[in-house]
Amino acid sequence: MQKIIRLWNMYYMTFWKGLWGTLWLSALTVFFGTLLGMLIALMRMGKSKILRGFADIYIEILRGTPILLQLYFFWIGLPKIMPFELTDTQCILAALIVNASAYISEIIRAGINAVDKGQWEAARSIGLTETHVMTRIILPQAVKNILPALCNEFISTVKGTSLASVFFVGELMTSYKSVQSATFLALESLTIVGIIYFILNFVLSKLLVLLERRLTISD
């Protein structure tokens, strides 16, 4: 126990930086994953057979292969096809976003499908264009179903980003690795990182419960 406290006192800056990296990576992943996921969800629900097929395959592949494999794939593959220089972090972030978008698109689709069919009909019957039906009537109602699931996705993304340490992208697991190699106190630094992860996700899930309560009150 004393070892852990001493370790923390010596290296807390490294751990803080790691925590910051994890949060930042997760936030960007969920934010851009949501934008991309929205696009995929719309493709999947749209009229075009080709786009629908593409979206189906996209989702199946991303959900059917391990995320670590996807990270390697982007890390190796992306710099080869991009005309400009990419840092490791950018490659990994891109992979995380693409992976999250597959899950998020399903969240969005389910949220939209949960809106009463009568709302579509009423919105169309007063002469709203399809875009307005979606943006003014359906999405605002779907958000209530989507937001809690999206927060859950954020929590699992926080855990998922730990895989980025394989590529030494600065986040919590990477700080463990650097502290461990500097001190050889593997178990102790791992404990600290574990506690930080736990507190982080504990706080996030409490916030999620609060959010869900707010959403149901406004019903």
């Binding site: 009909e121 009423a122 002469g127 264009t129 019903d219």
Partner: protein
């Protein structure tokens, strides 16, 4: 009163193998009030929903003021603006206030200035006795109030025709009258109206014509007196003897 506003020719609609409409021919005059009655599953709702293209017919034609609306489906939302529809389950928008439910479409699709739209919405709300609820969300309204809201939401678009699909079937009995009164007043004011209803006394009172739809066709039609007092078709006789 003699101009035709809607005509359907040999309208057919299938859901998979199920033939729901088997060829409906109908001509509706401007200002005419038509009640549609008939047994459950006969295709009444499907017919109404075809008229504003919520369902796309498989065969046949729909003319609105002489133009075939199925060949120019590009501007489907423009067409729907001319046809108001009221549903059994109200379908008011829970994410918008009562006032916003009404002004949304006029502002977005007809570019009515917000102030004018609000003024008109308030006048409409007053007409149906809901002006005090303008700032509320629909969850605070009773069923009858929701249905009155959904009627004025449709009227705010100045439709040429109003479709009602069992507007009182989901209401508690004590609220049926307030909604029927609004529809009755509207019909008397000259609005072209098609209403699917199980309220036979109401149908008899307000309609110029009654259609009996059974198994996807109009098996009998005529003025309300004839239909209700001496129906000819055996299916109509059977149906009326059950509901009256």
């Amino acid at each position: 009163m003699t101009d035709e506003i809607i005509r359907t020719e040999n309208l057919k609609k299938n859901f998979g193998k199920l033939e729901v409409l088997k060829g409906i021919d109908l001509s509706v005059m401007k200002g005419e009030v038509i009640s549609i009655i008939g047994p459950s599953g006969g295709g009444k709702s499907t017919f109404l929903r075809c008229l504003n293209l919520l369902e796309i017919p498989d065969e046949g034609k729909i003319f609105f003021e002489g133009t075939d609306i199925m060949t120019k489906q590009k501007n489907i939302s423009k067409y729907r603006q001319k046809i108001g529809m009221v549903f059994q389950n109200f379908n008011v928008f829970p994410n918008l206030t009562v006032l916003d439910n009404i002004i949304l479409a006029p502002i977005l699709e007809k570019k009515v200035p917000k102030k004018d739209a609000e003024e008109e919405a308030m006048a409409l709300l007053k007409r149906v006795g809901l002006e005090e609820k303008a700032a509320e969300y629909p969850r605070k309204l009773s069923g009858g109030q929701k249905q009155r809201l959904s009627i004025v939401r449709a009227l705010a678009m100045h439709p040429d025709v109003m479709l009602f699909d069992e507007p009182t079937s989901a209401l508690d009995p004590e609220m049926v009258k307030e909604v029927l009164n609004v529809i009755g007043d509207l019909a008397k004011s000259g609005m072209t109206t098609l209403v699917v209803t199980h309220e036979m006394a109401f149908a008899r009172e307000i309609s110029d014509r009654v259609l009996f739809i059974c198994n996807g066709i109009i098996t009998e039609e005529g003025n309300p007196e004839t239909i209700f007092t001496c129906p000819q078709n055996p299916a109509t006789i059977k149906f009326l003897s059950q509901v009256l």
